[in-house]
Point group: none
Chain length 243, copies 2
DNA sequence: AAGTGGTCTAGACCACTAC
DNA sequence: TAGTGGTCTAGACCACTTA
């Protein structure tokens, strides 16, 4: 993964942007970058396209490539969404630690909706995993996940007390790389207020989604309730679906 | 726009998928498609990548490209954060009407932040447009937008009382197709509660963003505060950001 | 071993912007 | 006119899956 040229260039450019190396919000042109990195212009374009799809830069034909001013402004420490899928990954890069407190772990029959979302048959069972996520000892998210037992027959309370996605990748060789998510907000309920240290007027952010394995298999249905200060979902929308 | 090869191929493949032409959920391999369409394999890859990024197909190295079963089942989930940009468009399709109440409309000098976000010089002016959006006579959103006067010199109170994006497209021939958005949640303030008919414990969803013209020019900075029941943002995330 | 998608190159030509 | 990003090609080689 790390030896991909376009990825290396992309990460390096992102770092240089974050280090404020490019004053005036403008990047060198593609042909110069090609020469500087010693790679083809196509590879530079690919790296730049990823940054553009992430909303970090945008390109103006005939003018150049520019850093998105909102991106510079929005470099927050706590931020879930956008370029990260799992929660654990989202926080590792910040240097601080993410902890998990397992609240509940059991096996239940999949109801009709879960059968639909996870491509199950009636009679199939799923794990129900309820966890509290903490960041730097601050609780920020209540998460209830449902995973078909047949996709991960060996889950244990110990395993689900850390990153399930990491376990799947390292132990089962299956990586979770895609998801459909819905993002909403709601007033907090009593449990939210207790677990997330919220006052009654403070809301929660809701993220509901289905996570997929690399091969397209639906792997987990997840319902997440976030402390509102930790919900910040950055997204770049392009109606010209030129990915 | 319509003569782009990769786009033509992409649209054609999407139609063929929707017409169920490929049974067994498998697409022809890239080299065959290249020959069939009479284009290079790179172009086929580009078309397929767009479909993959939309969650319509997924690709397995060594195996082939497959249609996402969820897509065939026509699930609403697939609306994915990008089917609509502006607010007006988002609701027209529902058959109900969207109204706008103009709360404030003036021209002000762009402050430092706006200068940065909209690529302006000091001394440039922007419209400040504050509007209340209603859907089916229910207020659901307070919107404060900032648009450089030089990008739309003829804006009037009448124009901004309906869809600005539609006006730009129809009258000025400039279309707004991209946006960078941050989605958050917050407790509602007094004004929110009054205008959006919220109780003190009910929150607002926040959508902050910059809208861009087709050519990448930042067109509008918008701050939107939504009645929480109307905030539902659907998105498809793929960690393999392989544009 | 054969077939698949993934990466990367080197270069041509086009469309747009700036001066 | 010079410089920018956008499109597209033709092909080499790699990594993975399947048999």
């Amino acid at each position: 993964m790390a030896d991909l040229v376009y990825r290396t260039v992309m990460v390096d450019l992102k770092n240089r942007i974050q280090a404020d190396e490019f004053k005036s919000q403008r990047l060198p042109d593609e042909r110069s970058l090609s020469e500087e990195y010693g790679v083809s212009r196509s590879t530079i374009k690919r790296a730049l396209n990823i940054l553009a799809n992430q909303g970090i830069i945008f390109k103006k034909r005939g003018s150049g490539s520019f850093i998105n001013p909102l991106y510079q402004k929005n470099r927050t420490i706590f931020q879930y969404g956008g370029s990260n899928l799992g929660v654990t990954d989202s926080f590792i890069s910040n240097g601080k630690t993410s902890q998990i407190k397992l609240l509940d772990f059991k096996v239940i029959p999949a109801d009709e909706e879960l059968q639909k979302d996870l491509f199950l048959n009636s009679g199939d069972f799923v794990y129900e995993i309820k966890r509290l996520r903490l960041f730097d000892n601050q609780p920020f998210m209540i998460e209830i996940g449902y995973i078909p037992i047949k996709l991960a027959p060996e889950l244990s309370a110990e395993i689900v007390s850390s990153s399930i996605f990491n376990y799947m990748e390292e132990q089962a060789g299956k990586s979770v790389t895609k998801s459909f998510m819905s993002i909403m907000a709601e007033p907090s309920n009593a449990e939210d207020q207790e677990l997330l240290c919220l006052t009654p007027t403070e809301p929660v952010g809701i993220m509901e989604g289905i996570f997929f394995l690399d091969d397209g298999t639906p792997f987990e249905v997840s319902n997440m309730r976030l402390h509102y200060k930790y919900l910040k979902f950055n997204t770049f929308v392009d109606l010209n679906e030129n990915a």
